[in-house]
Amino acid sequence: MARDMSDIDILKMELEQLKKEVSTPREPVSKTSKETMDWCEAASGTDLLITGVPDDKNPYKPEKGGCIIT
């Protein structure tokens, strides 16, 4: 755990990780985020929190009718 490690051991661990990450393949934001955006837009059509839930399909909508008698 990082808690038990000395400062120099932490630094060595970070260094090892940075060496790995230097060669991470990176694709242009314009391509990757466009794909994410297109995915989201396609899925929005069936996203019930955007389209709204019709009353008859809404398990949380209170039952119609009935009244409270006190």
Binding site: A2, I10, T32, S33, M37, D47, L48, I50, N58, P59
Partner: protein, 338 residues
């Protein structure tokens, strides 16, 4: 001190190289790309149900894969399993330690996990005549901040001891230890394809891990304080983080960097919790200031607010079918909205 300085210099050099690599592909932002997208409709969600039953602050909630049941954890020392359609409490699981910080339910619905300042992750079987403790996973050297089941025999945990861990529930032993964070791990989220998971920590970074080989594949920086909440975008290609620095960020996994930021000069409360609608378009973010703000994930604009709690919103969740969103609060109530 000579060696420290040499190592530091080497690390700084590599960080600069990584920054340069990121800059080279940083040809736009998500908000710019989304400028042509129609604005999300002004989101007016109503509080449909309030689940009352806990007697103290709620610290965690997790929807069942059946989209109907949910587990919640409170420092009143109980896990409650709810039938959210009726509002009834189906099971109550008493906890040995009331200092619980998180809870989760297995996809099968058979098991629940909880843990907190006891440094343990306790697994209970809720399908017998009464809930029974199955395992006490006891190897973390710090508090348990988060857990997520992969299946009935494996669970991932995040801990204040700066590590995350994959446990084998048949043996109760650690299978893989994920070591790289230098601050308390506060949250984790599993990728839709279950090959990777992402963790957020008090070192202000989020890390992407290979579940099976334990290697840290990528590190995402930019936040200036603890990352308290994290979620995978449903496409699996991006990650949303929420932080004590009062902002949320979207990190693109293939561009290896931040591509959108969600902040407001008027907001000076830390983000405690995050959940996404089924398309990812809406980000529900709980803040220290008792509200839950709703953000358009593409255009980075605030499109709504869920207000109704009388204390901090500590946890939020959207079920897999996307039919609603549940908020849990220190005011001891859970509220379902749609």
């Amino acid at each position: 001190m000579g060696e420290m300085d040499t190592l530091k210099k080497e690390a700084d050099g590599l960080k600069a190289q990584i920054e340069a690599g990121r800059k080279a592909v940083n040809d736009t932002t998500m908000a710019t790309l989304a400028s042509g997208v129609a604005a999300a409709p002004r989101v007016q969600l109503k509080n449909r149900k309030t689940l009352k039953g806990h007697l103290a602050k709620i610290y965690g909630l997790h929807w069942s894969a059946d989209n109907r049941h949910m587990v919640s954890a409170s420092q009143d020392g109980k896990l409650l399993i709810w039938d959210t359609y009726t509002g009834n409490k189906v099971y109550a699981v008493p906890l040995k330690s009331s200092w619980v910080m998180s809870c989760s339910m297995a996809p099968s619905g058979n098991l629940v996990a909880s843990g907190g300042l006891d440094n343990m992750c306790t697994i209970a079987n809720i399908k017998g005549a009464s809930p029974k403790t199955l395992r006490e996973l006891d190897a973390h050297e710090g508090y348990l901040s988060h857990s997520r089941f992969l299946n009935d025999s494996e669970i991932l945990t995040a801990s204040g001891d700066t590590t995350c861990c994959l446990w084998d529930l048949e043996t109760g032993k650690q299978k893989v230890i994920y070591k790289s964070h230098v601050g308390d791990c506060m949250c984790l989220a599993v990728s839709p394809d279950q090959n990777t998971f992402i963790s957020g920590a008090c070192d202000s970074s989020a890390k992407l891990w290979d579940i099976r080989d334990g290697g840290c594949k990528q590190t995402f920086i930019g936040h200036t304080s603890d990352i308290n909440a994290i979620a995978f975008y449903p496409s699996g290609t991006a990650v949303i983080t929420g932080s004590d620095d009062c902002t949320l960020k979207m990190y693109d996994l293939r561009a290896d960097q931040e591509v959108n930021g969600y902040q407001d000069a008027a907001l000076n409360a830390g983000v405690t919790s995050v959940s996404l609608s089924s398309s990812g378009r809406l980000i529900f973010a709980g803040y220290d200031n008792f509200n839950c703000n709703i953000w358009d994930s593409l255009k980075a604009e605030k499109v709504g607010v869920l207000s109704g709690h009388d204390n901090r919103v500590s946890c939020i969740g959207v079920p897999d079918d996307g039919l609603g969103v549940c908020t849990g609060s220190w005011d001891s109530f859970l509220k379902i909205w749609n």
